[in-house]
């Protein structure tokens, strides 16, 4: 675990039209660690996650104030390009969403988009590297040119992770990546997260406290749009400072 600050959120408020979704969030996320965001449904975890790659920009009625700093630079200033930001901050969604293309084309999507490969061979090696990192290559190496949508749910989700890895992001956001998967596929994804944090900073939203406890180094507990408590996962789960956190992790809220 390094102690280098990667993302710093300062006094962040987010509104959907008149309704305030996040209240004065302050949170630091460290490089090459897994930070999990937990809390009951509707507490704003996913909203906070989407602030980190500006996916909230796509929602017309969404407005915000405060700062989100990545590597010391505010990502919301007008001179920051959301397209560049999103190639640096990858995202994996709740439901696996492979494109209606072949497995190969799914992974090659980002590199082609950003012109990362100079030759066909280079692109091939990028695809293979990403699939290998996502722990999927051995399962699909004989059918790279078949449709990505033909894979099982867990494989599809790992394909989406491979797709995100292919553009060499520094940060990977995961929005409940296992909620549509069975326990075996979930276990594989969790192993993968362990593996990936050596190279990437990972922020994961999860409904499962066990999952947060298993995979994350730090945990932030949110409730009704407010950040209640954050810190090392083992401290949050063994010795929560706040009554609401205590209630949630012992199953009294949620």
């Amino acid at each position: 675990m390094s102690e280098k600050l990667k993302i710093s959120i300062k006094n962040l408020n987010v509104f959907y039209a008149e309704k305030q979704a996040l209240f004065d969030i302050n949170l630091n996320i460290m490089e090459r660690e897994v930070t999990s965001l937990i809390g009951p449904s509707g507490c704003g975890k996913s909203t906070l996650l989407k602030c980190l790659n500006r996916m909230n920009d796509l929602i017309d009625i969404c407005t915000m104030d405060g700062q989100v700093m990545i590597d010391g630079a505010n990502i919301n200033t007008p001179d920051q390009d959301p397209v560049l930001l999103r190639s640096k901050v990858g995202m994996v969604f709740q439901k696996p969403n492979p494109f209606p293309k072949s497995i190969y084309d799914n992974v090659a999507y980002g590199p082609r988009l950003h012109g990362m490969a100079q030759s066909k061979d280079e692109l091939d090696s990028m695809v293979i590297k990403s699939l290998t990192r996502a722990g999927l290559y051995d399962e699909v190496k004989n059918r790279l040119f078949e449709a990505g949508t033909g894979l099982s749910g867990g494989q599809q989700q790992r394909l989406c992770i491979a797709r995100a890895l292919a553009v060499n992001p520094e940060i990977i956001l995961m929005d409940e990546p296992c909620s549509a998967l069975d326990p075996i596929a979930t276990a594989k994804i969790e192993e993968l997260i362990e593996e990936l944090k050596r190279k990437y900073t990972i922020v994961i939203v999860t409904h499962s406290m066990q999952q947060a406890a298993r995979v994350s180094d730090r945990t932030a507990y949110m409730h009704m749009g407010e950040l209640i408590e954050s810190g090392f996962t083992k401290n949050i789960f063994s010795n929560p400072q706040h009554q609401k956190t205590q209630d949630y992790i012992t199953g009294r809220i949620g």
Binding site: M55, S87, N97, F99, P100, K101
Partner: protein, 455 residues
């Protein structure tokens, strides 16, 4: 009289619905009845109405045939079948008060009397029998209302039968259309060689009507006509596909919700404009524009009638089909795919090109196909803007003709239905039908393959 009978049957049916519904409701609470009171009412009104109305329609058609046959006897001395037909029609018209024309024939007035009395008797009998049947069934249906009577099951099966019947009608009408086309086409090919028709390069269907007339024997090479159709349709697609696609992409991917709610209905209004109005637009606005443009380059090059005028106006006509269907298809792509692509750092236009269009490809192809078949079948615009001359050309600035325009030209006015000229219209229609059928099959297969690959 017959009109009153329809109303009477309707009143009887409504009455039986109310009575039986009320009786069933008075029998017990909802959970003791097998069927809801509503079903008892419906059962009885169907029973009161349906057999009686079928009998009424059947009786009316038989009555016409029988009376016609009986007055035919008054004109046995007339030998010309056409004349007999004319006399019979005159008798009927005179009796019904439609016309006061009296035919100079001994049998005419007796025939009128016979016809009037027959019709009168038959109508009286019809009213009695039909109303009687309806009332008997009404009384019978009232008797069967019990707690256990399975009115719901009977009503359900009646409606199922009705639905089956409707789909059978649709299928048989299609088969009937194809067969009627086929037989006329075969008659045409008895006089004109199939290969001359399909591969002939000269179209000039005017034939001599009488033997002493000076006139050609007609020339039925269909290539120029089909080439004209294809030329105009392709010009139309060249106009409609880019405009339709871009507006669909704008509406589905870029436009705000407010713009969408107003813009889409406005575009769809285009689809509701009668094609003859497009014809005016072509003749009054587009034709002078192209002619003036042509005159600037080299005077007299362009006439008011050319493929490009008809094709471009037709293209405007089919824009809404492409826009609307493509927009629907693109909106049906799950938003998770769009988000996934944007989260990879793709712009909206890259996302549209790489993800949205491939994922909605089958819908887009379907919209092109619909637009293309509209273009092929369109007649009015071409009549007004492209002309009748069957020129063998691919030059869009020349006057061409299309299959549908030729069919209109061949079949309007008084025509003999046994001349090669008239019959050639059926052959044209049949080949057109066949071509669009093949086009449809190819496109459907394409769509199916694409679906298998990506869904």
């Amino acid at each position: 009289m017959t009109e009153l009978l329809y109303i009477a049957l309707f009143i009887l049916a409504s009455y039986s619905f109310m009575v039986n519904k009320g009786r069933a409701a008075s029998l017990g609470k909802f959970n003791t009845l097998h069927s809801q009171p509503y079903y008892h009412g419906l059962y009885s009104s169907i029973l009161t109405f349906l057999p009686a109305i079928i009998l009424l329609i059947f009786w009316s058609s038989i009555q016409n045939i029988m009376t016609n046959l009986s007055i035919r006897d008054f004109f046995v001395d007339v030998s010309d079948p056409g004349l007999i037909k004319f006399y019979i029609d005159s008798v009927i018209n005179y009796s019904n008060g439609v016309s006061s024309k009296i035919i100079e024939h001994d049998g005419f007035m007796p025939a009128v009397e016979k016809y009037s009395s027959l019709t009168y008797t038959s109508t009286i009998l019809k009213v009695i029998v039909v109303t009687g049947l309806s009332i008997i069934l009404l009384r019978a249906s009232i008797k069967v209302v019990t707690v256990d009577f399975k009115a719901r099951d009977y009503v359900e099966s009646m409606f199922t039968t009705l639905m089956k019947f409707s789909s059978v009608i649709a299928i048989f009408v299609t088969i009937g259309i194809v067969l009627s086309l086929l037989f006329e086409t075969l008659r045409f090919f008895a006089t004109v060689n199939v290969f001359d028709f399909l591969f002939g390069l000269h179209w000039s269907p005017q034939t001599a009507i009488r033997a002493d007339q000076v006139g050609s024997s007609g020339s039925f090479g269909a290539i120029p006509v089909f080439l004209g159709t294809i030329l105009i349709s392709i010009i139309a697609m060249l106009v409609a596909v880019p405009i339709g696609m871009y507006s669909a992409i704008y509406l589905s991917q870029y436009a705000s919700e407010t713009v969408r709610t107003y813009a889409k209905p406005i575009i769809e209004i285009l689809a509701g404009i009668p094609t003859v109005v497009y014809g005016f637009f072509a003749v009054i606005t587009v034709a002078p524009f192209f002619r003036d443009l042509g005159d600037k380059i080299s005077p007299g090059t362009l006439s008011g009638e050319s493929a490009i005028i008809a094709g471009s106006v037709m293209g405007i006509m089919i824009i809404p089909f492409i826009t609307s269907l493509t927009d629907d298809a693109m909106n049906a792509v799950p938003s998770s795919l769009k988000e996934g692509s944007l989260a990879m750092g793709a712009t909206v236009s890259e996302t549209t090109k790489q993800v949205i269009i491939p994922a909605s490809f089958h819908g887009i192809v379907a919209s092109f196909l619909l637009a293309f078949s509209r273009a092929i079948g369109e007649t009015m615009i071409v009549v007004m803007a492209a002309g009748f001359a069957a020129n063998l050309t691919l030059n869009p600035f020349e006057s061409v003709t299309t299959v549908t325009v030729q069919i209109v030209g061949l079949l309007t006015g008084d025509q003999e239905f046994d001349s090669a000229k008239t019959l050639s219209a059926f052959a044209l229609a049949f080949v057109l039908f066949f071509l669009t059928l093949i086009l449809n099959i190819i496109a459907l297969n394409m769509v199916k393959k694409y679906r298998e690959q990506y869904e």
